[in-house]
């Protein structure tokens, strides 16, 4: 274990921030370019994970455990959100036989 963790010695904190920002932006991009509600939702999960990693990095940086505890809460949230979100998608699929978000635009103006 020691040897593995040693391998991050010397990685600047900024590179973690940069990396997580990239992952986060990829998630945003996914939300923007896909039409399937499930894939959009998956992209949102990607965004959350990027933030989780960043939280952990900060936690390690500050030597403070609360960041990692927070990640734990975020995962609980993610589980709850996934359950509800997928239930909504299933419900809609029953009514419209589609998960395409472009089909759903009757409410407008």
């Amino acid at each position: 274990m020691e040897s593995i963790t040693n391998s991050i010695q010397g990685v600047p904190l900024n590179h973690y921030i940069l990396f997580c920002a990239i992952l986060f932006s990829i998630g945003v991009m996914g939300v923007l370019i896909r039409r399937n509600a499930i894939v959009i939702f998956m992209s949102v999960e990607l965004m959350l994970n990027a933030v989780n990693l960043l939280l952990t990095a900060f936690s390690v940086h500050h030597g403070d455990a609360s960041g990692q505890v927070f990640v734990f809460f975020v995962m609980a949230l993610a589980a709850a959100e996934v359950a509800v979100g997928l239930a909504i998608i299933v419900m809609i699929y029953r009514n419209t036989s589609s998960t395409d978000i472009n089909v759903l635009n009757r409410l407008k103006w």
Binding site: I17, F24, G27, V28, V31, A37, I40, F41, V44, M47, L48, V51, L54, L55, F58, H61, H62, D64, S66, G67, V69, F70, F73, V74, L77, A80, E81, V84, G85, I88, I89, M91, I92, N95, T96, I101, L104, N105, R106, L107, K108
Partner: protein, 462 residues
């Protein structure tokens, strides 16, 4: 804390009542439970106002929290009084709806009393997840489905930003505790740039939940698609709670002068955009509910004034405005539910001639509209007045002028329904207004006028 426990236990109790098919008892039990919670809330009232945070700094249940929790509980109480026979028409699982509303209320009380960003986050998520479900409870209704999906996808998306913001605040300051964050700001010579970015992203996340432009896009569609009772809940209790959270974060942690110089311009832009988009778009709406949705965006704009002019008076300004807005909106939604139920459609034409057939309904709705429009001697005027004087005392003259202009536009569309009720005739039958509705209408109207004439007793609370 006992309030949170009471309400969550109440939720579970209601769930069990549903299991035992005690459908008749659901509403009374819920209402009684809310009254108990309200009593417990007032129990926390501290005249000296020097409450300490509890649970290792997780919660700070001070007078601010008491006031906002009480407002949330009272509004929920009033809204639930409108729910008699409402859920039964939608689905067989009535108990679950009460449960989820109560869970949402728990979340709301948490975000009115958090003292740690993790509590803020969990509170907001309890509230949001419950609302996603409530929006979609008309399972076979296409509009409700669509609203639920829109709300859910955009809500989850914005949660990402809120979370990112919190993360950055943590990354810079090394703590989730509001006081620690303030100490970081006060003690560090140079505040890290990621802290600023964290402020921006938190603003984005909270503005989404509150429905401020340009993060408002979900509001009209979701409000329209969701069942009216839930819309009432969302546009009143939820909005108030988000602003309580907003205010707490900014007042406790981010109120230093250098930071204010940074985020005040952002909020000025967001507030003006919200005012503009909300008011202008509402003008052309043909349906009452959608009009209310757009107008709620504009009210977010007014509420943001309190943050722009952040001071010790912001608490009572937001509280007063939120109370006025909440009460008036409850009247509007109650009237809307009556019309929707019996006419089936909420376009303005369906309000024609109500003044003659349903004088009580028409009168209360008129007062509510006057209050929303900010006409003097109603609560809404006091709210707007506090907001505007606050903004002026921090020399945001141009913004105030712009807001006053917008308020004038607001008068137009609010009075449209009044004109329809009194000045247009239509052959129509009297609408039956259930007793529960009448109670809510009369109580809320009285509250609107009392606050309007004598705001002292409520403005001095905090």
């Amino acid at each position: 804390m006992d309030v949170i426990i009471t309400i969550s236990l109440l939720a579970i109790l209601v769930l069990y009542l549903g299991l035992f098919k005690a459908a008749k008892a659901l509403l009374p039990v819920t209402l009684v439970g809310l009254l108990v919670a309200l009593g417990l809330t007032f129990n926390h009232w501290d005249l000296a106002n020097n409450t300490k945070s509890i649970f290792s700094g997780m919660l700070l249940f001070n007078n601010f929290s008491v006031a906002f929790s009480a407002l949330a509980i009272i509004s929920t109480f009033l809204i639930l009084m409108l729910s008699k026979d409402y859920f039964e028409r939608i689905s067989a699982n009535v108990a679950e709806y009460y449960t989820i509303i109560l869970f949402a209320l728990t979340g709301i009380i948490i975000i009115a009393s958090y003292h740690n960003l993790s509590m803020l986050f969990i509170g907001i998520e309890i509230m949001s997840v419950s609302l996603y479900i409530l929006t979609g409870i008309k399972k076979r209704d296409y509009a409700s489905n669509e609203a639920a999906l829109k709300y859910f996808l955009m809500g989850a998306f914005s949660t990402g930003f809120l979370l990112f913001g919190i993360t950055l605040l943590y990354g810079a300051s090394g703590s989730f505790d509001l006081t620690e964050i303030r100490n970081y700001v006060a003690s560090s010579e140079e505040i890290s740039p990621i802290f600023y970015a964290g402020i921006l992203l938190s603003i984005i996340g909270l503005c989404f939940k509150a429905g401020a432009a340009p993060f408002h896009f979900w509001t009209p569609d979701v409000y329209e698609g969701a069942p009216t009772l839930i819309t009432a809940f969302m546009s009143t209790v939820v909005k108030t709670a988000v602003f309580a959270a907003f205010l707490r974060l900014f007042y406790i942690s981010l109120s230093s002068v250098t930071l204010q110089e940074f985020w005040v311009p952002v909020l000025v832009v967001l507030a003006s955009l919200s005012l503009l988009i909300g008011n202008i778009t509402a003008v052309y709406q043909q349906h009452f509910k959608r009009m209310l949705a757009y107008s709620s965006i504009s009210h977010v704009g007014y509420l943001l004034f309190a943050l722009i002019a952040l001071s010790s008076a912001s608490d009572s300004a937001v509280f007063l405005y939120a109370a006025a807005y909440t009460i008036a909106s409850i009247i509007a939604f109650a009237a809307l539910m009556v019309v929707q139920k019996q006419v089936g459609n909420d376009s303005f034409d369906n309000f024609n001639g109500l003044g003659r057939k349903n004088p009580l309904l028409a009168l209360t709705l008129t007062i509510s509209m006057l209050s929303l429009a900010g006409i003097p001697l109603t609560a809404g005027f006091i709210g707007k007045f506090m907001m505007f004087t606050g903004a002026l005392s921090t020399y945001h003259t141009a913004l105030t002028v712009f807001a006053v202009l917008n308020a004038i536009v607001g008068v137009f569309y609010y009075l449209r329904v009044v004109v329809a009720m009194y000045f247009k005739d239509a052959e129509r039958n009297e609408l039956a207004v259930p007793v529960y509705f009448k109670i809510v209408l009369v109580v809320s109207t009285l509250a609107t006028i009392i606050i309007g004439v004598y705001p002292g007793f409520i403005a001095d609370l905090i």
